[in-house]
């Protein structure tokens, strides 16, 4: 399987639209099913916040970090409507909204803390990645902290096997068994057929009965997400360029992370 190239003349905004926003909406429900376990460093950061602190989760996806510490008040936003619907569906108590990371809907200097986990690496230029960190920080009070995670270039032992010296700006495949899409593509005839066989299809849904369906299993669809893979030292450097003080940094599960403070 050959991976497509990022078109050379694409604008940063269109690149993020085509290779990030559209893709997350397409893969939202499948993606969400794979995202339920909090990463230890993130959990530790959230549990370490003072009781009743208020925070934002920028790029919260399906909201898996919003309920980690029940003594916090958190608002999560994500650029993907599909993922925010997943979050709301998983727990209607999560405070979530749809928003762009560069235009957050929060008052400045308001929050005690922020997290942004596996998000900044989707911005397509260094300027936009630094701006994104700056923008998150603008919402945090002076002295407040933010935890930021980005995918690492150095992950030779991972399934993907990216390593030092590889291209840092890449498209990463997501293989999707997308039944809905398939149905949509089928013309009216099939839909009518499906309607006529409505009672049968109800039976088909019973899990205990082996399903013998006349419809061939849809081909898996591959979607490509754009990532900037961070190399060692790059994330702290971006954070400093954004005006933050780096409090702590490290590497966990193929990702670089920093805890930064707003001066």
């Amino acid at each position: 399987m050959s991976i497509p190239e990022i078109p050379e003349d694409i604008t940063p905004v269109n690149q993020e639209q085509n290779f990030v926003h559209d893709v997350y909406n397409d893969i939202a429900s499948h993606f969400s099913q794979t995202r339920y376990k909090p990463w230890p460093i993130v959990e530790k950061f959230l549990m370490g916040q003072k009781d009743y602190s208020i925070g934002i989760d920028v790029g919260c996806g399906n909201g898996k970090y919003l309920g980690v510490n029940p003594n916090l008040f958190m608002i999560g936003t994500d650029r993907s409507e599909g993922l925010i619907e997943c979050a709301h569906g998983l727990n209607s108590n999560y405070n979530v909204g749809i928003s762009d990371g560069l235009s957050l809907p929060h008052p400045n200097n308001k929050f005690d803390f922020a997290i942004s986990i596996a998000v900044i690496h989707h911005f397509s230029t260094p300027e936009r990645r630094i701006e994104a960190i700056q923008h998150i920080l603008s919402k945090v009070k002076s002295g407040g902290e933010a935890l930021i995670y980005c995918w690492a270039l150095e992950q030779e032992t991972s399934r993907r096997g990216y390593k030092e010296g590889d291209d840092q700006d890449i498209l990463v495949p997501w293989v999707l068994q997308d039944k809905k899409k398939k149905e949509k593509k089928e013309p009216k005839r099939r839909r009518k057929l499906a309607k006529d066989q409505a009672s049968e299809s109800v039976e088909e849904q019973k899990p205990e009965e082996p399903v013998e369906t006349p419809v061939p299993k849809p081909e898996p669809v591959t979607k490509y997400r754009y990532y900037h893979l961070y190399k060692e030292g790059e994330l702290p450097s971006n954070a400093e360029d954004a005006g933050a003080v780096v409090v702590d940094k490290g590497y966990e599960r193929d990702n670089w992370w920093v805890i930064i403070r707003k001066p």
Partner: protein, 129 residues
């Protein structure tokens, strides 16, 4: 979207970020639902410290509630009378959900929508910078 959330969101347009009139948003045509939630007096007392009270009063008024005092109350969860007020506040802040409605920026006039309890702050391209 919980009523409490209205105290932490404002217009997403760059030019409105530092404008005083972009917070709070103005709420119109809102459909409200009540959802029972666990009463946590300590949580509420601490949230009150963080809350911008005049913004809260303003949004409550938008949604048809004129009963809030103009001054932020100082409440002690040990006092019985205060607990009653905290229960009212719990009912308003935590249990009241805006299911559908409009949020309008008093600075630029942009209208945001809440649908199925989810507010959408995505901006059209001409407002992104």
């Amino acid at each position: 979207m919980k009523f409490l959330t209205t105290n932490f969101i404002q217009c997403a347009v760059k030019g409105c970020q530092s404008s005083d009139s972009s917070f709070p948003l103005k709420y119109e045509e809102c459909e409200l639902v009540a959802e029972t939630q666990e009463f946590k007096p300590e949580f509420l007392v601490h949230m009150l410290e963080k809350i911008n009270w005049s913004a809260l009063v303003q949004v409550a008024r938008d949604l048809g509630n004129d009963n809030l005092p103009t001054e932020k109350p100082e409440l002690d969860p040990i006092m019985e009378d205060d607990v009653l007020i905290l229960k009212d506040l719990h009912n308003l802040l935590v249990e009241t959900n805006i299911l559908n409605g409009k949020m309008i920026c008093n600075n630029c006039g942009h209208i945001y929508f809440i649908k199925n309890s989810i507010p959408n702050f995505l901006l059209p391209p001409h407002l992104c910078n």
